[in-house]
Amino acid sequence: MFLGYLTVMMKIFATTAKELLLLLRDRTGLLVLFLMPAILVVVITLVQENVMELTGQKKTQVLLLDLDQGELGELLRKQLEKGNLEFVVWDEKRHDVADIQAAVADGGYQVGIVIPRDASSRFKKETARLFQQGKGAENKNIGTISLDLFVDPGIMAGLRSGVTAQLQMAVTAIALEAKLTMLSRSLQQTMNRRGAPREINPLDEDKLSALSRQSLLTFTESQGGSRAAGLFLFNPVQQNVPAWALFGMFFTAIPIAGSILQERSSGIWIRLTALPVSPLVLFFGKALAYIGVCLCQFLLIVLIGAFLFPYIGLPSFTISMNLPAVLFTVLFSSFAACGYGIFLGIACTSYEQASTLGATSVVAAAAIGGVMVPVYAMPHMMQRISIISPLNWGLTAFQDLLLRGYSLSAVLGDLGRLFLFFVVTVVLSWEIARRRQ
């Protein structure tokens, strides 16, 4: 019994060693296996850098043309720079409204603001008129000072809403402060006329600015169902590093299939079939070698995320918790990828067929699994379809561990699905090979 077990293990390890030797001798193939996901993760993360803007992690540049040169421009900048907007101020002597309109329309800037001439004085005048009306003066229409806003028509609706909401909040705050100031002055004048001491004025003009900014009601964001501390905000790096590592792992299915098809097209498969060894032993041996490759791929991508990204202006990738759980996820994702490769190698009849079908199916599974676009951003139907993709199971597990801070027990379902996928693909391959005989 023990000897039989030992013999089987020896045959598995012999197959693994052979497979690793073949991989090491195929340096170009090995390079592609590691280079492809490495290039993808860097390029895609850089391309998606503007996602950081969309998610509020990077300041959006706002072009400002202040034709007024009064205090309104200064107030506006002070209000908005507290948020996620960064001003680029154009010289009003060299540029006009048409220039700013063109710059935004061309996509050079996402947002442009023009403060018209005399806006500050008109704003003061209209504020004063507002209080004169309040004191029973003749009812006249109060003029609204309009600032020109240009928004790039190409930007996403979410960013447009975010920026316009910030602008609206800024002008509301400026108007409120102006109204309070005017109210304070008006109150002081009334009190002076009545001989009341200055100290009893509840709206001390010196403190009005701070008073108007004092928050009385606010939202405090809490982390829903998260079970661990030290969470990371969603960013392209935390999304892309595991996502593209997963994509690379599943791409190993193609070389696995290629190695099986090469054996089948030569006399090797016939020889292997005639030897006292089960195809399952050969499959496991092969899978073991490529699981090692997948682990190395993941390590490479993590190292790129952790050490290269900061040098190219991206946030660093971090795994500060659940390292064993992350490694389990890598392991089970590798199992699934290898199982699929074995299935392709047995089910297809030529390398061309396997490489085309393999590449197409992995890219499709990556797309519907949320590697390229997050699942929540997909149409409802695609969100429902996404649960059939093994890459979705792997990615969901990674996100649960890396972003939501869940423990291993929370991702056991996804890991189970990945392992079941491996078992099903290997058993199917075995059955196909048997039937083909």
């Binding site: 045959k11 006399g267 090797i268 016939i270 020889r271 005639a274 030897l275 006292p276």
Partner: protein, 266 residues
């Protein structure tokens, strides 16, 4: 399969009653999908232990199909196969332990060296440790590749590959060695060496089933010949007996008489 086994074949531990025939095939029929005629049709073959049996036939006659069924690569649609008195359904593992197959296509990894190929296939045969090292060394000597042991097989000539292909088939010291056209595309020197080694193996007790379409090769090597055409054995016997029975002057004449002169391009 623990001990060093290379070229030690010939001594079976099976009971004498089951030892008479190394190969016994009765009424084998095999159809492939989308074909108009069977690849094997009432194929019958008996190969006695210690025999050097040649299966001779034109292209598409059914040689490779017969070999595949006789080595358990796939089952027949109907009929019975017994190897050393054992059936594949019941004793597949045992049969594979005593069977050696040298496939027509080279069954070696081009990127591995000769030694690495022998090591891998030796381990799959269940040979371990010092015995494995000894078997590998003997295999390299047998294939005359000792000096090229560390060279990738992809750099070998066809003759070197064929010799190594044969050496790998002998790693488990098979009692029955099945060779599917092992000398295709090689030079006279390599062919001569392979022939000599096969004769030596046979003399030391290994039963050999050898397919070829080279008539001269069959005449030189085989103690008995079976001529296969259209999926069945049309004539069998020793070369001398076949010629005597048919009244033909040589085997080629007999072969063409039995299989016809039409081209076999299928």
């Amino acid at each position: 399969m623990g001990e060093a086994t290379f070229m030690k074949a010939g001594n079976s531990s099976l009971p004498a009653s089951e030892m008479n025939f190394a190969v016994c095939a009765k009424a084998l029929v095999k159809w492939y999908k989308n074909t108009e005629s069977p690849a094997l049709d009432d194929f019958n073959l008996d190969v006695q232990q210690g025999e050097f049996f040649g299966l001779l036939g034109p292209n598409g006659a059914g040689k490779t199909t017969a070999i595949s069924i006789l080595t358990g690569l796939f089952p027949p649609d109907s009929g019975i196969v017994q190897i050393m008195g054992m059936g594949f359904r019941e004793k597949q593992k045992e049969i594979k332990q005593i069977l050696g197959l040298v496939p027509q296509n080279i069954g070696l990894y081009d990127k591995l060296t000769a030694r690495e190929n022998l090591t891998f296939f030796g381990k799959l045969c269940g040979i371990r440790g010092a015995n494995l090292a000894e078997s590998i060394q003997q295999g390299l000597v047998f294939a005359r590749l000792t000096e090229h042991a560390l060279q990738p097989v992809g750099t070998f000539s066809t003759g070197m590959k064929r010799r190594l292909n044969l050496a790998v088939g002998l790693l488990n010291a098979p009692q029955l060695l099945v060779l599917d056209e092992p000398c295709v595309g090689i030079d006279a020197q390599s062919r001569h060496l392979i022939h000599a080694q096969l004769k030596d193996l046979n003399q030391r007790g290994t039963t050999i089933l050898y397919t070829t379409h080279y008539i001269e090769e069959a005449r030189e090597l085989c103690s008995r010949i079976g001529i296969i055409d259209n999926g069945r054995i049309v004539e069998q016997g020793t070369p001398a007996a076949l010629l005597q029975q048919s009244g033909m002057s040589n085997l080629e004449e007999l072969f063409l008489h039995l299989t016809g002169k039409e081209l076999r391009d299928a």
